[in-house]
């Protein structure tokens, strides 16, 4: 095939890609109990009062806010976006409470339930669904329903909304909040610490293996409402937990800022598996609208032989800017990062991981798959840092990029800092497109070009998908399939 034909084909494919609609684009009309836009100490006091928080939380927020005021927004990422007006964002919005809040699912606003049903999480059926998944669903900023709590309570597992945890487990919150991502960490972490409204809290006691995948569906709803979730997961000695995070958002024209913070703490022999499927509104074909996803995620392997594993499938958001990382403090601890990032139209992603090896014989494994289509820009940026005491540390990183079309970009920026000679660090990366011979092979066997592309891309991502829990793996493959409709290279 000549280059000319290839180019035409690619641009055709890109056109088809841009024509696809955002499948989950709909808006629920619920009267929001919002704060006025803008950020000030008053707003922070308002949020804290609204959530009936204890004094230490208000102190934490105010300290973070004062620190945030001294910071300037970072600009080193490989992304472009118009300046964000932080005084134009609504920092608090809650669905209007009916009475003292819902006591059971029946009391939940039927419109909310409808939204969830459209999203494919029929809460009413959750309990009947035989304890596979517990959902602590977050709608805008207030948790509306939490299921399966009773079952988890029997094992001593705490799984609740962050606001609830602040009230019921203040000692735990006080101890671990900000212990992995301090409010001084970065611009967006400081902002989050000042204004976060809700999120999830999980505590797995010693020796307990959480019997089900814990899951939260976040959903951004009210226009102009930045979502600032805070998630904290603590796994005590010998505990195990697998946590799922999945997102879809309705179609909007205005950019919405999302600056979440996720903190994980794993003690001796504990394992935390954190999986994300992110499919927020990516903006239209001209890059108008879409979510800014500026997230700080970090896990600390505090104990010996602990393990933290991040798996992410990033297909949405107009800008994704996040580096889920692991601080490998305990000896023999393990950090893993598996990522699929897809950018299409004008989407931009600057994502990767940070693996900081502190303890002896710590190991980390990084697998990153980037797919660029349309005018999408996809950047892998990852730090592997081996400190002086990390004798016998081992890292292997693999970053593969696939380009679909001639107007997109794929970039790889690894950072390897090694201070110990017994460490072994390897980084490999490659960039490619779908081979014509691969497509030809499939066509020859009667597989349509479209199915062939989907198959090849799914194969390209297989190493990551197999790390996902089963139900997520299915969703992730579907998402890629939708994204690649018509993209015959």
């Amino acid at each position: 095939m000549s280059d000319q034909i290839k180019l035409e084909r690619n641009s055709e494919a890109a056109e088809q890609l841009t024509n696809r609609d955002y499948k989950y684009g709909f808006v629920t009309d619920i009267e929001a109990d919002s704060a006025p836009p803008g950020l000030s100490e008053e707003i922070i006091r308002f949020i804290s009062a609204k959530k009936e928080e204890p004094e230490f939380m208000l102190e934490f927020r105010l300290k973070a806010f004062r620190h945030w005021q001294t910071l300037t927004e970072p600009d080193w990422a490989f992304v472009n976006y118009p300046a964000i007006d932080y005084q134009d964002i609504v920092y608090y919005s809650a669905p209007k409470a009916q009475g003292d809040g819902p006591q059971s699912l029946d009391e939940v606003d039927p419109k909310l339930l409808e939204t969830y049903e459209k999203l494919g999480i029929p809460l009413k059926e959750q309990e009947i669904l035989a304890g596979v998944v517990a959902v602590d669903a977050v709608f805008d900023s207030v948790s509306v329903a939490t299921t399966f709590k009773g079952k988890l309570e029997e094992l001593g597992i705490v799984f609740c909304s962050f606001s609830e945890a602040v009230k019921e487990h203040p000692a735990l919150i006080r101890k671990y909040l900000g212990s992995v991502v301090p409010y001084t960490d970065n611009f967006f972490a400081a902002l989050n610490a000042a204004v976060f409204t809700d999120g999830s809290f999980v505590y797995i006691p010693k020796g307990v293996r959480c019997p089900m995948e814990l899951s939260t569906y976040f959903r951004i709803n009210a226009a102009n409402t930045g979502q600032f979730e805070r998630t904290l997961i603590v796994a005590d000695d010998d505990a195990y937990v697998s946590y799922l995070e999945g997102c879809t958002a309705p179609q909007r024209d205005e950019n919405q800022l999302h600056a979440a913070v996720v903190e994980l703490v794993a003690f001796d022999n504990a394992t935390i598996k954190y999986s994300t499927v992110q499919n927020w509104y990516p903006g239209d074909e001209n890059g108008v609208g879409g979510i800014y996803n500026f997230v700080t995620k970090r896990g600390k392997c505090a104990g010996a032989n602990s393990k933290i594993s991040w798996t992410q499938v990033e297909t949405g958001s107009s800008i994704t800017w996040k580096y889920p990382g692991c601080i490998l403090q305990g000896d023999n601890s393990v950090g893993e990062f598996y990522s699929v990032a897809l950018t299409n139209n004008c989407q931009q992603a600057d994502t990767g991981t940070k693996m900081v090896h502190i303890g002896k014989n710590t190991r980390s494994n990084i697998v990153s798959k980037g797919i660029s289509a349309g005018r999408g820009q996809n950047t892998y940026r990852g730090l592997v840092k081996i400190l002086k005491g990390a004798t016998g540390a081992r890292n292997y990183s693999q970053c593969d990029s696939m380009l679909l079309g001639d107007r997109c970009g794929a970039h790889t920026f690894p950072y390897l800092d090694v201070q110990n000679r017994t460490a072994t660090v390897e980084h490999e990366a490659s960039t490619s497109k779908i081979g014509e011979d691969q497509i030809f092979y499939c066509l020859q066997r009667g597989i349509s070009a479209e199915d062939a592309v989907s198959m090849i891309v799914n194969g390209f991502c297989k190493e990551v998908f197999r790390e996902l829990p089963m139900e997520f793996a299915v969703e992730a493959q579907k998402l890629l399939g939708i994204s690649l409709e018509g993209s015959v290279g």
């Binding site: 990029s401 997109c408 690894p414 390897l416 090694v418 980084h427």
Partner: protein, 410 residues
């Protein structure tokens, strides 16, 4: 060797030097200096809060007091029609071309030391390989830093005409173990169509010197450029080497070898730009670190939109021979075209225990076994040097620099 990098009490007054030079030399050089001076004033000296200078701290340069040196480079070799020497001594028609090309490749924006070099420019070494110059022509340029705390501003311009072939060895030496010289060097290499040029850059300055270098090349259609950067000396060394593949079928190969010991610091930055389709690039930079030394490698391959059928490889293997050495490596790819094959890789590790065991089981003592393996590691780069005398000389120098301990324990 351990040298405390304490800055002398007063820093160099570059502004005073600029004023001193203001009315020296012909018009064109004064204009060139004035332009560069304006750029240098805008940028100032870099500091470690800038991403590009985070690992390389230039405090000893910023705080040092350096006196301009008047040593001149020694240029030798060249064949029929090859013009070598000082730019202002060249015949008028060559001079006119050279003046036009000077500064055209090595942009000053984002390169404060290139601006500094331009603002203090005095002598330009010019090498002109005319059209069809024969292969085998070897030109050597030897820069010797002045004694003591000298300030050296070497500038080289290499122009290779269409179809020219040749080899150029540029070395930086001096000022001996006592000196604390500062060198800011810039070399520009402009290769026309179907050229075949080999450029060797050897930095073997004294243990107390500071060396900041820049090499910027352009390769025209069908041209081939091979560069080797060998870093053996200086307390602090940073070299930014860039190549733009500017015509279809152009290719470049960049080799690098750096040996660090004591508290030395070496920073290598490469930037290859694939500006047009059907070009090929390959980079191998190898580092051997011992004692408390640090090394930085930042290599970037940029594939511009439309530069289809690009083939680019980049690798940076590092050998850590000490528990106190640190390596920072950032191999980077920036790709805006889809029909490309690009790979990069970096590794950091110590000597392979199995290989050491193999040698020891054959009666070779651990130190010797270690040395053999390190020599083999460096050999991959040295073996590619096609000038026998230079290769032998470098093998000897590298062997002399290898640490005595094999690094078997641990």
């Amino acid at each position: 060797m351990s040298r405390v990098m304490a800055p002398p009490p007063t820093a160099t007054d570059f502004e005073a030097l600029h004023r001193l030079l203001a009315d020296r030399g012909p018009d064109w050089i004064r204009e060139f200096r004035a332009g560069a001076r304006a750029q240098f004033v805008i940028q100032g000296l870099p500091h470690h809060r800038m991403e590009a200078w985070r690992q390389t701290h230039i405090a000893p340069i910023a705080g040092g007091r350096f006196e301009p040196s008047n040593t001149l480079p020694e240029v030798s070799g060249g064949g029929d029609g090859v013009w070598t020497g000082r730019l202002h001594e060249a015949p008028e028609e060559i001079q006119a071309t050279a003046r036009r090309r000077l500064g055209a490749l090595a942009g000053q924006e984002g390169h404060p030391f290139t601006a500094l070099n331009g603002s203090l420019l005095n002598e330009v070494t010019l090498i002109v390989l005319p059209q069809g110059a024969a292969a085998g022509d070897l030109v050597t340029i030897r820069h010797t830093a002045g004694p003591g705390n000298s300030l050296n501003v070497p500038r080289t311009l290499i122009l290779a005409g269409d179809g020219a072939a040749g080899s150029i060895v540029e070395s930086y030496e001096g000022p001996g173990p006592e000196g604390g010289s500062f060198t800011t060097a810039v070399t520009e290499i402009d290769c026309g169509e179907n050229t075949d040029l080999k450029y060797y850059r050897i930095q073997r300055e004294g243990p107390g010197s500071f060396h900041i270098g820049r090499v910027q090349a352009r390769v025209g259609p069908g041209g081939k450029l091979y560069t080797a950067g060998i870093t053996l000396g200086a307390a602090l060394d940073r070299v930014d080497a860039g190549v733009t593949l500017d015509g279809e079928g152009a290719s470049c190969e960049m080799d690098g070898l750096f040996l660090t010991d004591g508290v030395r610091h070496v920073d290598n930055r490469t930037r290859i730009e694939h500006a047009v389709p059907n070009c090929r690039s390959r980079q191998v930079y190898k580092g051997i670190l011992s004692d408390r030394s640090t090394a930085v490698f930042v290599g970037r391959v940029i594939v511009r939109p439309g530069a289809q059928a690009t083939d680019a490889d980049q690798s940076n293997p590092n050998l850590l021979l000490s528990d106190d050495a640190t390596v920072y490596t950032r191999p980077q790819l920036e790709i805006y075209a889809d029909d490309v094959r690009c790979t990069h890789g970096a590794t950091v590790g110590q000597l392979d225990a199995d290989a050491l065991f193999y040698l020891r089981s054959r009666g070779i003592d651990p130190d010797e076994a270690g040395r053999l393996l390190v020599k083999g590691f460096a050999g991959e780069i040295l073996d590619r040097i096609e000038i026998p005398s230079l290769r032998t000389q470098l093998e000897f120098e590298v062997a002399g620099k290898l640490p005595v301990t094999s690094g078997t324990e641990g």
